[in-house]
Structures are given as C-alpha cells and as structure tokens.
Subunit: 279 residues, 2 copies
DNA sequence: TCAATTATGGAATGTTTGTTCCATCAGTCA
DNA sequence: TGACTGATGGAACAAACATTCCATAATTGA
C-alpha cells in the first residue's frame, strides 16, 4: 500500500475533484464520471450492474473508477452519494417545517432572500395565468404575425425582456429590431417603423418616459403597438393598439420578472406558430 | 397463498397502515415499526443486520415484519424508503423532463403556450430552491462584496440576466460594468478586471465560446469569477472561483429564465446586504 | 513500425446480504 | 396445570453482490 490516501468524503469535494481530474481520465472512466454527475440519485441506490448498464460500461469499470479516485472500492464511493441524499432530504424537511411554522427561516440571509424571490416569482406566474385571457394574446399575435419587422422597445428594468425577445425572434426566424437606445438614438431607431411593421413596448411603473414617448409616437404614426404594462391607467396602455397586463410581485425593492418573461416568450412563439400556419 | 395482497407503494400509505395496524402487532414487530418511523433514512440505506442491531431485534424479525405487511420480503419494503428519499429530488427532475417532451397543442395555442411557459418557470423555481445550498450563495456573496467593481458577462439568451444585474447593482449603489461586447470589444471590456474586482459569468449549454473565454481569461488573471451555469462539467464551472447550478426547464425550444433571474437577484441583494453589514 | 504500457471487457471469485428453517419460548384457553 | 397457538432467536442457506483476475485491445513513446 503506497498511501492511505484521502478520497473526498462529501459530494462537493467529489465534484471538484472530478472537475480537475476528469479531463485526464481514460475514456471509459470519464464516461463514468459524466454519468455520475448527471445521475447522482441513481448512484446512491442502484447496484454496480444497473449503473453499469445505464452508463454503458462494465461493472468492473465502476470499481476501477472508484479506486482511481482513491476509494477502497465502489461501495465507499457510493456512500458519498447516499450521504448527499440524506442531507438534501433533511434540508428539504427543515425548509418545509420553517415554512409551515410561518417564521422566515433562521439560517442565513441568503436563504430567506432566495425564498423571497422564488415566492415572488411564483406568485407573479400564478397571477398571470389567472388574469390573462388567451383571446388577448391571440389578438396581439395576429398583429405581430402580420408585421414585416417587429420593433422592440423597453428600458431599464424592462430592457432584459426586450433583449430576450430579440433573441427569441431571431431564433424563430422573425425579423425584429431591438431599440436599445444606443448613443441616445432610441427615437431614431424606432422612427423607421411603418404601418406594415409592429412594435412591442414594455414598461411598468415607474414608467420610463422615453419608452412611453417612442411607443406613443409610433402609435400616432399608425404602427400597431402591443404594450406589456401593469394596468389600464398606465400611460403605455393609453397609447397603443392593444395592451396585455402583467402584474409582478415585489420582493424588497425588486420586482420579479418571471411573469413578464413567460408572457413575452408566449407572444414570440405564438407569433411564429401563426406565421407558419398562415403560410 | 391466501391473496396477492397490495402492500403500500409510497411512504404516506405505509405510515397510515402502520398507524392502524401498529397496536395489534406483536411486541417485536411493533418495536420494528417504531424504529422504522423514527429512523426512516436508515431504513433506506442500511442492511438488515445493521438495522436489526439499532432496533434491538434479529434480522429475521425485519423480514417477518415486511411479510406481515404483505411485502414479499425486506427488500421490497426498503424500496418504499428509498423512493421517499429520491422523491423530493427526482420529483423536480421528472417534472422538468415531462415538460421537455410536451409539444404545444394546436387548438387554443395561446393558452397552452402560456401554460407551458408558466409551468416550465414554476418547475425551474422549485428545482432551484431544492438544489441550491444557501452556503454556496453566501460564499459567492463574500467574493462579490469585497470587489471594487463587478464585471458582468453573458451573451445571447443569457444577456438579459446580466443586463438585469447591471440594473440591480446600479440601483443598489454597487459599481458594476456590463460587458456587452459592443463593437466586438467584449474581451477588452473585461480585460481591465483585476484581482480586487470580481466577475459574474452566466452561460448554459449550448455555451457561448466568448463568454467561456472571457471568464477563463479573468480566472487565469486571478479575478474572482462567480459562474452561473448548468452543471459541474460545464466549461464555465471549470474556469471560475465558485459556481452555482441553475437547471432551467425547457418548453419547446425555449428555456425558462425564472430560476436564473431569481438566483441573480438573490446574489445582487445579498451582496448589497453584506456590504452594508461590513460597513 | 515496433515494443512497452495502459485501458478494457468479461468471466471467476469470495464476500455480503436477504431470506428461510427449526428449535425454543411466551402467552392463551380448557 | 397442561396442551395449543403464535412469536422469537439464531443458525443455515442460497442468491446477489462488489471485487479481482486475466486475456485482449488500444494507446503511447521511441
């Protein structure tokens, strides 16, 4: 025996070890490493024979793999995955208990922040599903499907939404222009829109004046403007062809974006489907 | 053999069964039942011999117990406990997978699309909450809180995330630079980062080569790089100081962004809180 | 291109594991 | 109290298991 050696005892260090040693490993062992990381649950319960089949290797390879990592054998390696599952289970249970008792989880700011944002997102998604009428989406989609080019307008916190829309439309093969206001040229970028185009404008309170202005200008010029905004009294809702309501839940001073993104993606894909159906 | 019999397949029904039949059971079998309910995790992993010792009975008693409950043997009973452990885990995984295969129906397209995106988002959020360890977030936050300037790197579908982070950091009074690759100058924008700065890099498969390259370069230069990516074998996870896992559900050809946004917002606010606490 | 080294597949092996069997024990009804 | 029914402990068993071994294939270095 050359060394007592110190194989990782917890899942985290095992992952780290695999990251560093992975690339240097022989083909089959690398295959095992990838399977392990992709299906950590199976590693905890299944036998060498079962895992070997789903990883596409021989059982003996699993043992060799464990030994290459300085474990005595496969069983020792498996303990790491079992420990991980145990811990996750107790974490999960503790979180549920904390939720049930109403108090916002003692351990650490990170946990309660994450919980807050997750809950805000979930609340927003539920509200969206309950509030939006599919017919409204269909109507907006009709306008978009007819457009030669779709202009995307949104600033500040809403810029991510329109930049994602630009990505999605691009991938769907729909011509779009992201009005990113670079060099302060937002107005000029949008001014080339005509009545045979369309515009998606996104803004919620506190409204960005320039977004409102660009949308209103396009609307006056007869461009079909679809607004994603937070209520009928929004200045954006007043200067557009059609508007869709997204009400996001706040957490702290930040607003969830989940519902707006879900709606935006729906619009994009629905438009693509409609164009395909019309053709 | 009197009956084919139907032993409980899930943990819940097993508990119910034990509650009703428990009092009528012989002494040793009752002893087993109590031990089982008190140490369900052990039941999933340990062998008959080990469990027998800690329950103070013979291994054969465990088999008898299982058979008294209409299981074929101890192994069948053990499956129930194993299923319980992997459930809250693969629960999420299964839901993510189920969504992946679901093609939007033709009729009422808008509704089913919206529903699909909403469900993908919700599944992603749940998976995030179940998987992420708050300690990992804290560790990442520590690096960020120390930074003079935080560089934000992400392209294509991930650009919305970093652009939102730029907005959030700005609002929180934390100095950040959005590496937007304008004019193809991404590398130069990021090259000015030093060891007293930090970087957040976001990329999931299919990875954007430039994002990987920028993050790896910064990492080589000693800049603390926090990666938001989709697995330990991601090229981004291999070239960073710390990485956080976000697994988003797909719907159609588009991926939810909900979990990534929730995590990004958590990072931003947690960093701000930490900075405020240190001051 | 050839030898040396390492990796791999598959059968053989020794151990561990769940299970069964049977003698003994405790409790129950006459 | 004494036969009977069911429960219990512990050893014996057979199946499943991780592991090892060896012949063969692939890879590496000269």
């Amino acid at each position: 025996m050359p060394q007592p050696a110190s194989p990782p005892g917890d899942f985290g260090s095992l992952v780290t070890l695999l990251q560093t040693r992975g690339p240097t490993l022989p083909k089959r062992l690398r295959q095992v490493a990838e399977h392990m990381l992709a299906h950590p649950d199976d590693m905890a319960f299944q036998t060498t024979a079962q895992i070997a089949v789903s990883a596409g290797v021989q059982p003996s390879t699993l043992v060799r793999f464990a030994q290459a990592l300085d474990y005595a054998g496969f069983s020792d390696l498996q303990q790491v995955f079992r420990a991980r599952l145990r811990q996750q289970n107790s974490d999960h249970r503790a979180r549920l208990a904390a939720l049930r008792s109403g108090r916002p989880a003692e351990d650490g700011m990170a946990r309660s922040l994450l919980e807050g944002f997750v809950r805000a997102s979930q609340a927003s998604l539920e509200a969206l599903q309950g509030r939006i009428q599919p017919a409204e989406i269909e109507a907006a989609t009709n306008l978009l499907a007819r457009a030669e080019t779709i202009f995307l307008v949104g600033s500040r916190r809403m810029f991510p939404v329109v930049s994602y829309l630009a990505y999605a439309f691009g991938k769907l093969g729909i011509r779009s222009i992201l009005v990113d206001n670079i060099g302060g040229l937002g107005g000029e970028q949008a001014a080339i829109a005509t009545t045979s185009d369309a515009m998606i404008a996104v803004s919620c309170a506190p409204y960005t004046p320039q977004t409102i202005e660009i949308a209103a200008q396009a609307h006056r010029n007869g461009v079909p403007v679809i607004a994603l905004t937070d209520g009928p009294l929004s200045p954006l809702a007043m200067h557009c062809r059609r508007w869709l309501e997204v009400s996001e839940a706040d957490f702290g001073e930040f607003r969830s974006m989940a519902a707006t993104f879900a709606l935006a993606m729906t619009l994009a894909v629905a438009t693509a489907e409609k164009i395909r159906a019309d053709a």
